[in-house]
Each structure stands twice: as structure tokens, then as C-alpha cells.
């Protein structure tokens, strides 16, 4: 049976979906809806979120070592925000020096991909998952990267139905975001049943 489990990646994929930050935790849903407007937006948002969840988790590893579960644990949110802010400024600086045009285009929207529940929620989720265990930095980074990959998978799931959910055949009251919520809910129901 162990050989069978290793042979197929299906169960691993289902397990990944089972911890998906959008389908199972509803984190970053509004960011996803905004991003799905256009393919370009989606690629950019998903990439930025994956960057921040991965590197943010790496920084949160050190914050968790420092803050622990003592008196400083209440300041954890503040430390996460400062860390995310630092990464945000760093990324903006990179864009500024690499391409001024790109910097002008992205600076009005990048904060939506940074200061949202998807990124913050991932830092807290990874922290909670490994709380009380002695783990290495790579586990945190992997956890953050998995969350980013989960966002990408959820955005692909939504993109495939985007045209249908915004079609004129959908009742006006449900067209767009309400239909997207229902659609994600049904997919989430399937993942929940398979977990």
C-alpha cells in the first residue's frame, strides 16, 4: 500500500488542496476575485503573493524563535507586519532600479497583493502548524511556498470558470462575485468530502 501511495501523486495533490488557503481557509478570496479580472493581473498577483508567503514565512521563522509563546507573542502580528513591510519596500526598490516603467505601473496595485489575509494568514498558519515542534527554516519556507502554490491552483480553478460565471446567462443578481463564491463553495465542498 505504501508503494501505491508513492506511485501516485493524486493523494498528495488532494492533501495539498485540503490545506488550500482559499478553498479550506477562505484567505485571500477578495484578492483572488480582483486578480481574476485579467490574466496579466492574475499572474502578477499570484507571483507576488507566492513571493511574500515564501519569504515572509522564512522571516517568520526567526520571529517565532524570538517571540516564542511568552509575553512577546501578542506582538507577533506587529512583527509580521514589519517584516512584510520590509519585504514590500525591498520589492518596490528592486522594481524601481530594474525598470522605472514597471515600477510606475505596479506601485498603485502591489499593496493589494501584499497586505491581505492570504499573506498574513499564511504566516500565522505556518507558525501555528509548527508551534511546539522543533523544525528547520526549510519547513517554514516550504509551508509558505505551498500556500502560494495553493493560491495559484485556486486562481486556475476560478479562471477556468470565469467566463461562464460572468456570462449573460447568469442572473444579474448573481453575475460575477456572488456566482464565484458559490462556485468556490462547491469546489470546496468536493475537497472537504475527499479530505
Amino acid at each position: 500500500m505504501t508503494g501505491v501511495k508513492k506511485m501516485f501523486l493524486v493523494t498528495e495533490f488532494i492533501a495539498l488542496l485540503g490545506t488550500n488557503l482559499i478553498l479550506m481557509q477562505a484567505l485571500g478570496t477578495s484578492t483572488l476575485f480582483i486578480a481574476c479580472n485579467s490574466k496579466k493581473n492574475l499572474v502578477f498577483t499570484a507571483s507576488v503573493i507566492t513571493f511574500f508567503t515564501t519569504f515572509g514565512s522564512a522571516v517568520s521563522y526567526f520571529i517565532d524563535r524570538f517571540a516564542g509563546n511568552g509575553k512577546l507573542s501578542d506582538f507577533r502580528l506587529l512583527f509580521y507586519i514589519l517584516a512584510t513591510g520590509f519585504l514590500y519596500v525591498f520589492l518596490l526598490s528592486v522594481f524601481y532600479f530594474v525598470s522605472r516603467n514597471l515600477f510606475e505601473k505596479i506601485r498603485k496595485y502591489i499593496h493589494i497583493s501584499v497586505f491581505n489575509c492570504a499573506v498574513m494568514g499564511t504566516l500565522f498558519t505556518v507558525s501555528e502548524k509548527y508551534s511546539g515542534y522543533s523544525v528547520s527554516l526549510s519547513e517554514y519556507v516550504l509551508g509558505g511556498f505551498q500556500a502560494g502554490a495553493g493560491f495559484i491552483i485556486a486562481s486556475l480553478i476560478l479562471t477556468s470558470a470565469y467566463r461562464s460565471l460572468n456570462s449573460a446567462k447568469v442572473p444579474v443578481s448573481f453575475r460575477g462575485f456572488p456566482a464565484m463564491l458559490i462556485y468556490l463553495g462547491i469546489i470546496s465542498m468536493a475537497v472537504y468530502a475527499l479530505k
Binding site: A26, L77, M120, F124, T125, S173, G185
Partner: protein, 211 residues
């Protein structure tokens, strides 16, 4: 005058934070399944958002937006600390049960996005009024969602058993939250459009009678 009044109160209904703008959805979906959870999150959201936005309104406008947004987030993280300590006194079980969604309230879109886009473009008094209405709009949706979902999935309201022998346990889960919120927002849009049509008809009748 009426237009200004309308703009101030629009956060309650026509520009509802959750149902119209689709912001702060995660806590409604994940934690809006019991009234107790909802009350704790309503308290946290209201306190953090109100105090953070008021304090953030004193941040000089000359600072670049990229830096201001970090300052807003830091302010809300600092406000979160005393709010959480108070919540642990009155809602200790709930704070533990809601897990990561309690601190995530502090980075809600009302603070990070709507401050610059909407609130800080208004005069102070109107800003406070509009902010209160937006907060109340979220609170109302959270309460209604939690009430219905708790009744349908567990047969209780605020942990008091109701006389209900048919329960749909799925409505208390994450997918139940998604679907319920989708249906609620569809219903909200329908009611909004009906009331807008009524107003247009009333205005049309006034014009005709005026003539």
C-alpha cells in the same frame, strides 16, 4: 444635503463592506457560523477598525502612499494588542476557537485599502459617520450570517438549543460559508436593484406631477 447624507450612510446598505465590496470575507465565512464567534469578531473588527482609521487619519498626507500603508498596518497591529487582551477577558474561548482569524481582522481591507480610497477624502465628521456605517454594515452581515448558520447547522442560537430537529451540518463548514455568502450577496443585489428601481420610478412620478 440629501446626497451627502446618503453618502455617509451608504456603508450600511448600498455600499456594504461585505455584500457590495466583497471585503473582509474570510472572517464571515470561517467564523460566522456561531453567534458567539460573531460577537467576538464584531467587537474586534469594530474596535480595531474604528480606532486604527481615526489614528491613521492624523498621518501626514505628504508621506508617499507606499510608506503610509505600512504605517496604517503598524497602527492597526498596535491597536490589536489591547483589543485582544480585552477580548481574552470576555471571550477567552472564542479567541482560542477563532484562531488566526482574530489577528487577521487587523489587516482588513477597510484599513489597508479604503482609508486612502474613500475615508481620507472626506471631511473628518463625515469620515467618522461613514466609517461607523461601514463598520455597522459588516457587523450586521456577520450577525445575520452567524444567526442563520448556527440555527441551521447546530439547531442552536448563541448556544441555546432551539426546537429544531432537522439540521444541515454542512452550512457550518467553510463551503457552507462560501455558498451562504454567495446566496446572501445575490439576494442583497436583488433587493438593492428593486429599491433603486423604486426610487427611479418615484423620481419619474415627481417629475411628471411637477409638470
Amino acid at each position: 444635503m440629501n446626497k451627502n447624507k446618503k453618502k455617509t450612510f451608504e456603508g450600511l446598505f448600498s455600499d456594504n463592506t461585505v455584500l457590495y465590496s466583497f471585503m473582509v470575507i474570510s472572517p464571515v465565512i470561517m467564523c460566522g457560523n456561531t453567534v458567539k464567534n460573531a460577537l467576538a469578531l464584531i467587537y474586534a473588527f469594530s474596535a480595531i477598525t474604528f480606532i486604527s482609521v481615526i489614528v491613521s487619519s492624523f498621518v501626514p498626507k505628504s508621506i508617499p502612499y507606499s510608506v503610509k500603508i505600512i504605517i496604517y498596518a503598524v497602527i492597526s497591529a498596535l491597536v490589536y494588542i489591547p483589543v485582544k487582551m480585552t477580548a481574552q477577558e470576555y471571550f477567552s474561548e472564542v479567541v482560542a476557537r477563532t484562531g488566526i482569524y482574530f489577528p487577521l481582522i487587523a489587516v482588513n481591507s477597510l484599513i489597508t485599502v479604503q482609508t486612502e480610497a474613500k475615508f481620507f477624502r472626506m471631511p473628518k465628521i463625515k469620515m467618522i459617520g461613514s466609517l461607523v456605517c461601514h463598520i455597522l454594515g459588516f457587523d450586521a452581515v456577520m450577525l445575520v450570517t452567524a444567526f442563520i448558520r448556527e440555527l441551521v447547522s447546530y439547531g442552536t442560537v448563541n448556544n441555546r438549543v432551539m426546537d429544531s430537529d432537522f439540521m444541515i451540518s454542512g452550512s457550518g463548514t467553510v463551503f457552507g460559508g462560501f455558498i451562504f455568502l454567495g446566496l446572501l450577496s445575490g439576494l442583497y443585489r436583488k433587493i438593492s436593484s428593486l429599491s433603486e428601481n423604486e426610487q427611479v420610478n418615484d423620481r419619474g412620478e415627481e417629475n411628471v406631477s411637477g409638470n
